[in-house]
């Protein structure tokens, strides 16, 4: 067997630990060293931004922050970008987390972000917390927030919270923004938006976003922010580059490496005469 073919054979069955190591290097370097890459804003993210931008100051919006620690690396920058935009426009935020393992994390995010903007609990924002069975909770909220959430996360009666005084259900909100990495988005679309017809934008993890483009064009979603890429676009729109913008550089390098791997693997596959081996 010629030596070159042997090399291609070796490359075709490269030890996975070498692949892991190369990916780790490619991920770590852009985190340490600063690289800059221009972010292009896509129409679906611009639409989401415009929906918040057009709301008058002081309008209450609902933010469903339904993600857990596993997807926080992707979803937290997205949520933070939208919260920053809402607070910079002096919008009021009513939020919940319908994912059981994300509640404490979301509560902490809301508290930190609100404190950074000098927002007061009960006046500028409210956190309703978690209730099981998202579909039922959403349907109940469509009738009245007080049905599934008679009290907020801190056990305050909703009627005693100044921000909630004029808010009965989704009809009293300017916008519903669902940021989720779970199938909960289906419930928000079917049992929430489908029935109660509120304006809705969504931030989804990149892997699931492709499934929801039809809702964007049917008008059920007014805007769609997909994954870390969407978050970086949003950060660009609000003029506050943060983790998502930095993360896009890392993601760019990682994607290029994966494409490089695919290319090498296919070259080897053809050079070695398409010999098949068990993976």
């Amino acid at each position: 067997m010629p030596r070159t073919v042997k090399i291609f054979e070796y490359l075709q069955h490269l030890d996975r630990r070498i692949i892991f190591l190369m990916l780790a290097i490619v991920v770590i370097i852009p985190m340490i060293k600063t690289f800059e890459m221009p972010v292009t804003v896509t129409p679906e993210v611009k639409k989401a931004y415009d929906e918040i931008e057009k709301l008058p100051e002081g309008t209450p919006i609902f933010m469903a922050l339904d993600y857990d620690p596993g997807t926080a690396a992707e979803m937290a920058p997205l949520a933070e970008a939208v919260i920053k935009h809402a607070y910079s426009k002096n919008l009021k935020i009513v939020s919940s987390c319908l994912t059981a393992v994300g509640v404490s994390m979301i509560e902490s995010t809301m508290k930190t972000m609100s404190s950074d903007f000098g927002k007061v609990y009960g006046k500028d924002y409210v956190f309703l917390g978690y209730k099981p069975y998202p579909a039922i909770v959403i349907m109940n909220m469509g009738e009245s927030f007080r049905d599934p959430f008679p009290n907020d996360y801190y056990h305050n009666n909703l009627d005693d919270i100044p921000l909630m005084k004029g808010i009965k259900n989704f009809d009293n909100l300017g916008l519903v923004c669902v940021i989720t990495s779970t199938s909960g988005i289906d419930m928000w679309l079917v049992y929430g938006q489908g029935k109660y017809r509120f304006p809705m934008i969504s931030g989804l993890s990149a892997v699931m976003a492709t499934d929801y483009y039809p809702f964007l064009y049917s008008g059920q979603l007014k805007g769609l922010i997909a994954g870390l890429k969407g978050a970086s676009e949003y950060e660009k729109l609000i003029g506050k580059p943060a983790w998502a913008t930095k993360g896009m550089v890392v993601q760019s390098f990682a994607h290029v490496l994966i494409v490089f791997f695919i290319l090498i693997c296919n070259i080897c596959y053809f050079v070695t005469g398409k010999k098949e081996r068990r993976l």
């Binding site: 892991f20 009738e143 791997f261 296919n266």
Partner: protein
């Protein structure tokens, strides 16, 4: 009598409730809305009992695994210990009036065990995807080549470096998502919608009875 309680009555309840839930969608009268809200609250309460059933089922499965010394039964000890500890910590002292108290054991478990475990699991995916892409994405056939090229264009076009390479790449990735992807997704969704409606109708009319068990 057994037939009435085990079959006829559940079928009748299912039929009547299906009729009501379909009806309420089109009738926004206050009495209908109140009944609807009441039924939703009942569902939430019934659902909470399902959680107890879930815990019982989980514990039972793992006890059986331990008893039979099934493969990897040692992990069952971990599951039961973690479940018991978290419940005890949550019930006694860490959760008061709803929220978990900051600085308490429950927060400690959440921040130092659950968050790192979940983050690690998800982060590892990137490495496995890279390895899997290297081994599996091969142009073995025309269909595999189309899939491979689509993946490459979307991967490069959806990151800023794609635009740096050529402005065509992000535009093409956007087109792939908005035209072929959208068409396929719409077709799938319409199919699912029709299938779900047919199944719902079968359940409502008592033709589909597999949810009764047996």
């Amino acid at each position: 009598m057994k037939q009435i309680f085990h079959l006829t009555l559940p079928l009748l309840i299912t039929f009547l409730l299906s009729l009501f839930f379909a009806f309420q969608f089109f009738v926004p009268h206050e009495s209908i809305r109140d009944t609807y809200t009441y039924l939703l609250q009942c569902t939430m309460i019934i659902g909470c009992f399902a959680m107890l059933l879930g815990i019982y089922s989980l514990v039972r499965v793992h006890f059986i695994r331990i008893k039979r010394r099934a493969q990897n039964y040692k992990y069952s000890y971990m599951t039961i210990t973690a479940l018991t500890l978290t419940i005890i910590v949550g019930l006694f002292g860490s959760i008061e009036k709803g929220p978990a108290l900051e600085g308490h054991m429950y927060y400690f478990i959440y921040n130092t065990v659950l968050i790192p475990i979940q983050a690690t699991m998800f982060s590892l995916l990137a490495f496995f995807i890279a390895s899997a892409a290297y081994r599996a994405f091969r142009a073995r056939s025309l269909v595999a080549t189309v899939l491979l090229l689509t993946a490459v264009f979307v991967m490069i076009g959806r990151v800023p470096i794609g635009g740096q390479i050529h402005e065509f790449l992000p535009a093409f990735a956007h087109w792939l998502l908005n035209v072929p992807n959208l068409a396929a997704k719409r077709a799938i969704m319409i199919g699912i919608g029709l299938g779900a409606s047919a199944t719902a109708l079968k359940v409502a009319l008592g033709i589909e009875r597999s949810h009764f068990g047996g």
